[in-house]
């Protein structure tokens, strides 16, 4: 029988994400803490999504606006077309 205070891992994952977005209300905070105390998987999940958030922020600080990947190139046709449009503008 599910106790009122037991949340599932799916619910915990959602709360862990919400925790990165706003201040959880006390009741949800308690449910989450109880669950994390008993569920290593969710505890690790929470640490990982928090760390990924921080990693992206560190990256933004270090190389703002740097594309994540830079090996794509405009096609020759696109380059020609854009140059033509600029000449005509």
């Amino acid at each position: 029988m599910k106790s009122k205070f037991m949340i599932t891992c799916q619910e915990a994952a959602r709360l862990l994400s919400d925790d990165l977005e706003y201040s959880l209300p006390i009741s949800k905070r308690i449910y989450l803490k109880l669950h994390l105390g008993m569920c290593k998987g969710c505890k690790v999940y929470g640490e990982q999504i928090r760390a990924l958030k921080k990693l992206l922020h560190d990256r933004s600080d270090q190389c703002k606006d740097q594309p994540l990947a830079e090996d794509s190139k405009l096609s020759d046709q696109a380059i020609e077309r854009i140059k033509r449009v600029l000449d005509e503008s």
């Binding site: 599932t8 994540l68 830079e70 696109a78």
Partner: protein, 198 residues
């Protein structure tokens, strides 16, 4: 004797060189936001045209590249607004939510997370990691991926993100949750689990 007071913006910008100097950079930037090559090309073109028209407003306080990037960002945001007006986010109710596949009947995660944590010192400089990251980002459901990038990379306020995507705060939280679930899973499978085998 040339007067510094009369230095016009024409001395600061070189439109004839823009495509060669910045084309690929801007293209890659746009690809990080719109995934589709044709859309990205069009956005780069729109940005160049807009820049040409507003050359006088360029004061040289930032570099040409930064200025052009700013214009491209505006075009990208306009593009988002238009595309989400035309095709509103549809799968918010979770009927086609891929994240349900990650949980079993007891709502427990099918695959327990491996014991890894991203190491910024190691990863920030690693191009291979960011290529994998972008691959994972591109596999996210469209709205979830867009919301996530606008928040975590572009660092926009959630209110602005909601207005742009035409969604409520509540929808936004659902999308961020989905993005995190799927992105973490993808990175685990395609990077962190493989590291030990290299």
């Amino acid at each position: 004797m040339p007067s510094s007071a009369s230095q016009s913006s024409e001395n600061l910008v070189n439109p004839s060189q823009w495509v060669d100097l910045y084309g690929n950079y801007l293209f890659n930037f746009a690809l990080g936001r719109v995934r589709n090559h044709t859309e990205a090309e069009n956005l780069v073109q729109e940005a160049f045209v807009a820049a040409l028209k507003s050359m006088e407003s360029f004061q040289g306080k930032s570099s040409e590249k930064t200025w052009l990037t700013g214009i491209l960002k505006h075009k990208i945001m306009d593009h988002y607004r238009k595309s989400y007006r035309e095709q509103p986010v549809s799968d918010l109710q979770g009927n086609v939510d891929r994240t349900n596949d990650l949980f079993d009947d007891n709502q427990k995660m099918k695959q327990q997370p491996g014991g890894w944590l991203p190491n910024p010192k190691e990863l920030l400089e690693k191009k291979e990691f960011w290529a994998v990251f972008q691959g994972c980002q591109h596999k996210l459901p469209k709205a979830a991926g867009d919301a996530f990038i606008l928040k975590e990379v572009e660092k926009l306020d959630s209110k602005v993100i909601c207005e742009t995507l035409g969604i409520t705060k509540s929808n936004y939280w659902v999308l961020m949750h989905r993005a995190r679930l799927l992105l973490r899973q993808c990175l685990e499978e395609n990077w962190f689990n493989l590291e030990n085998k290299l």
